[in-house]
Amino acid sequence: MEANVGYVVAGYVLTALALGGYTLRLHARARAARLRAESIAARRRGEVETSARRGPA
């Protein structure tokens, strides 16, 4: 096997790691943002229900 094959393997592995890693990071960011928005919205709904039960001040 040619001595320089190691550079080729390193290049293809690096590309796979960079593209795959960035894709996974984007999925994680999307999930975190969605959970954050949903948790804030759920808290809001809870407040609305509580104030509705209390009735007008």
Partner: protein
């Protein structure tokens, strides 16, 4: 421009995103087979020349990503619509990834061929500048929380920064460079073996699909992060009642 924006909207649905993800994986697999199995080794450089099939597509996709930043930045300054800013930010982030990848792959290729990981060659230096410009673009976006100010500052950098893209591309023509000149886009047609050209074009096509997929994903992240900020900033029921009292 509205037609383009609507088209982008349709492509960024969840089903469109999944379809693009599958297409990206399939095209990368085809490209890997063509570049590692079908294309012959280079007569002079041998096996290490196979790095060209990922190094060149990464560099071309960086150009494309920054061209999208340039166009979206102009569109934002003309229309003040935040979706253009969202598009520019997504493309800049992905462009930085491809630029860094092109530099790293070039370095891996340079060591066995030139005998060095890095040299202050015009092409390498202008590409490093390109990376710094768009890292600066992303850094500027973090300076202010005001979305309008952030979008305006970023748009100006997105337009001015694009000047470096033709400089990078033409650096091998304008100055004496260790880096090889154009192999495909040259007078008299491509100077490359047919199977190598097919593998190279397949690599460019695969990276373009990957770019499209990453864009849809990054645009969704942008929308979700903005929604989370909107939810957090909108007044609570208690705050509204307090203000009404």
């Amino acid at each position: 421009m509205d037609v383009a924006a609507r088209g982008i909207g349709k492509a960024t649905t969840r089903s469109g995103e999944r379809l693009l993800g599958a297409a990206a994986l399939a095209s990368l697999a085809v490209s890997a087979v063509l570049s590692l199995v079908v294309a012959p080794p280079d007569a002079v450089q041998g096996e290490v020349q196979r790095l060209m099939y990922i190094h060149v597509p990464a560099a071309w996709l960086a150009y494309l990503a920054f061209a999208v930043v340039f166009i979206a930045s102009i569109a934002y300054l003309r229309t003040s619509r935040i979706r253009w800013d969202r598009l520019a930010a997504a493309s800049a982030e992905i462009g930085v990834l491809f630029t860094a990848l092109a530099i790293a792959l070039g370095s891996l290729w340079g060591k066995p061929v030139w005998g060095t990981w890095w040299t202050w060659d015009p092409r390498l230096t202008t590409t490093a500048m390109l990376l710094l410009i768009y890292l600066g673009y992303l850094a500027v976006r973090r300076i202010t929380d005001n979305p309008t100010r952030r979008a305006r500052w970023a748009a100006v950098i997105g337009i001015v920064g694009f000047i470096d893209v033709p400089i990078v591309h033409l650096s091998v023509v304008w100055w004496r460079s260790l880096h090889q000149g154009s192999t495909v886009f040259r007078l008299g047609g491509p100077e490359i073996h047919g199977a190598m050209l097919v593998a190279l074009l397949a690599g460019v096509a695969a990276f373009t699909v990957v770019y499209a997929y990453l864009m849809t994903l990054r645009l969704r992240v942008g929308r979700l992060e903005e929604r989370a900020v909107r939810e957090a900033l909108s007044p609570t029921v208690a705050q509204v009642a307090e203000e009404d009292a």
